[in-house]
């Protein structure tokens, strides 16, 4: 966690990220009370969740599904199209706490919501999972054969991530905050996270991506409304 980022000689931008909401209170309340204190007179950037598409859809579901906007050849007979409105409703709950948190930061100079990095390429995930006994043990403990696990296509995970970005942008607009999406420089031609910004695990970006974010935040300074 980066509780505070130095910008010039004065700490002007506070960066915080959402805790694991599934863990529940009281930890979260203490965390955000701390952020409220810290953010007085500062530009606050909240990196909110960002892993919902992985947490729910890293592996191909049964039955397989697709959504309008997915470009691959997934509109075949075996694939169920799901309404985009249903996907949005599914993810909506992960944004609900923002309606309490953002108003509580009323003494901040500005508030910016930021989403997580773009999805990683399927090959990267596949290599990570196959090489890590932890994941194979999870599957084994649940009685699932690794061969039965098919990683969700790049195109579908990307579209799910795009929907999440749209929901965050809407939340930001509704709550009077700014929205900053993952840096375009971090993404490849398909929109996925470029290999140079991938950490060696299944879901995270690396420290180089972190530096890219800091650069973006530097650009943000002065642009956000006071």
């Amino acid at each position: 966690m980066l509780p505070e980022m130095q910008a010039g000689s004065e700490p002007e931008i506070a960066v915080c990220y959402s805790a694991d909401w599934a863990a529940g209170p009281p930890g979260d309340k203490e965390y955000w009370d701390f952020v409220v204190e810290l953010s007085r007179g500062k530009h606050v950037v909240i990196v909110w969740n960002g892993n919902q598409h992985n947490a729910n859809f890293m592996f191909q579901t049964e039955p397989k599904f697709t959504i309008l906007g997915v470009t691959e050849n997934s509109y075949d007979q075996e694939v169920v199209p799901i309404p985009r409105a249903m996907i949005k409703d599914f993810f909506k709950i992960s944004f609900e706490e923002l309606t309490e948190i953002i108003p509580s930061l009323s003494n901040a100079t500005s508030i910016t919501l930021m989403n997580g990095p773009a999805p990683k390429p399927l090959m990267h995930i596949q290599n990570c999972i196959l090489q890590d006994r932890y994941f194979t043990d999870i599957a084994k403990s649940l009685g699932v054969e690794m061969d039965d696990l098919v990683i969700t296509s790049d195109s579908l995970r990307l579209e799910l991530w795009n929907i999440l970005a749209g929901l965050m942008a809407t939340s930001a607009e509704t709550l009077g905050a700014n929205f900053l999406s993952a840096p375009a420089a971090s993404r490849d031609a398909l929109g996925l996270l470029s290999p140079e910004y991938c950490a060696s695990d299944v879901t995270h970006a690396n420290s180089k991506y972190g530096m890219l974010l800091i650069e973006e935040l530097g650009k943000l300074k002065g642009k956000v409304p006071n």
């Binding site: 592996f59 579901t61 039955p63 509109y75 169920v80 309404p83 249903m86 409703d89 696990l149």
Partner: protein, 361 residues
């Protein structure tokens, strides 16, 4: 004593012997030659009014397979859905009239394209034939994708079925003045806008419903020749009538028409059986408690009586043996989906919690 035809009748022909006393719902149809309604390996599809969906949990509990061709991944199953669309084999929801059933199949076959096939309302694209869907399309392109998939699921279900249960619900309907397409609800009630220029009331006759049902059976058997039909009449009275009659009179008329249709079709067409859910619930022998206090909705014990009777026939038939311990394909698929979802969640949780350092967690 002079001989007469009644002397040759069994007890079931005499009200005093089988209704006034010793009433047994199974006797309504149990010694009928068509009593083998379900077989162990049947793929069962149902459609009709809401009463038709009551069947599903009961037959699945018995280890029979209710065919589902439009299922959601387990992740989405807890999301709210209106009006029970997904209760049925495909997500067509309640089909109250035989005309609607016939038209649905014609749409699925691609031989019918309704003139009024979508409504644009508040930025969403509504299906007039499934107006209460909780998650309508956001664009015409998405509507086309979702509708095509739905109709494909309908076709798959109808063509794979070995038993098709249809519950006749209503004679009253609203239809398009342009092409006669029947809507499941009057435009403007659940969704849409009622337009006198485009929409009209229709109260179907015995002849019209008989023709619709017979044509549907005939058309379906062109692709699925062995499918057997079980026809029931919903005992649930009309919630409202669009005629000038009192709703009780309109309801009696409607159910009478439907009951005649059921009798005619089951008598005239091979492998079509009538199951007397209507009589079990509404006959003079039926206990007061078979209806809820609104005297419209069938109570749980009423539903149980109908289903037990239906399944009693199943278990007494020598053509099938039902093992309640059988895990249905539905349960197996659902379990697998939940496991895969759980693995996604654990991986994301582990990495988000930075718990990778302790992989024993």
């Amino acid at each position: 004593m002079n001989s007469n035809p009644y002397l040759a009748q069994t007890d079931k022909a005499f009200w005093s012997r089988c209704v006034s006393r010793n009433f047994n719902a199974d006797s309504l149809w149990g010694d009928n030659s068509k009593s083998a309604l379900f077989h162990k390996d049947d793929l069962i599809v149902s459609a009709g009014s809401c009463f038709a969906s009551n069947l599903i949990p009961w037959i699945e509990k018995e280890g029979l397979e209710y065919l589902r061709t439009e299922e959601l991944p387990s992740q989405f199953k807890d999301l709210p859905e209106n009006l029970g669309y997904r209760n049925f084999s495909a997500a067509y929801g309640n089909i109250y009239t035989a005309r609607h059933l016939r038209q649905l199949y014609e749409q699925a076959l691609g031989v019918r394209v309704p003139a009024e096939d979508r409504w644009h309302i508040d930025g969403m694209v509504i299906d007039p034939f499934r107006p209460g869907l909780a998650y309508p399309a956001e664009s015409d392109a998405e509507f086309d994708l979702l509708k095509a998939s739905h109709l494909k699921a309908v076709l798959t279900a109808f063509h794979k079925a070995t038993v098709f249960v249809f519950t006749l619900g209503l004679t009253e309907a609203w239809q398009s003045k342009v092409d006669g397409s029947v809507f499941p609800a009057c435009p403007g009630t659940i969704s849409g806008i009622f337009d006198e220029e485009k929409h009209e009331f229709k109260n179907f006759s015995v002849e019209e419903i008989t023709e619709d049902l017979a044509k549907f059976i005939e058309h379906l058997r062109e692709s699925n020749p062995k499918v057997r039909f079980i026809i029931t009449v919903s005992p649930v009275p009309l919630v409202a009538t669009a005629t000038q009659s009192h709703v009780l009179l309109a309801s009696t008329y409607s159910k009478s028409v439907l009951r005649v249709v059921a009798e005619q079709v089951s008598n005239q067409i091979e492998n079509v059986s009538y199951f007397p859910a209507f009589e079990i619930i509404t006959g003079p022998q039926a206990p007061f408690e078979y209806f809820e206090s609104d005297r419209r909705n069938v109570s749980e014990i009423g539903v149980a009586e109908v289903m037990n009777s239906l399944l009693q026939g199943l278990t007494t038939s020598n053509s099938k043996v039902i093992d309640p311990q059988i895990e249905t394909k539905q349960m197996t698929k659902s379990k697998a989906g939940k496991l895969i979802s759980e693995i996604s969640r654990r991986i994301a949780r582990a990495e988000c919690d930075e718990a990778m350092m302790d992989k024993n967690l």
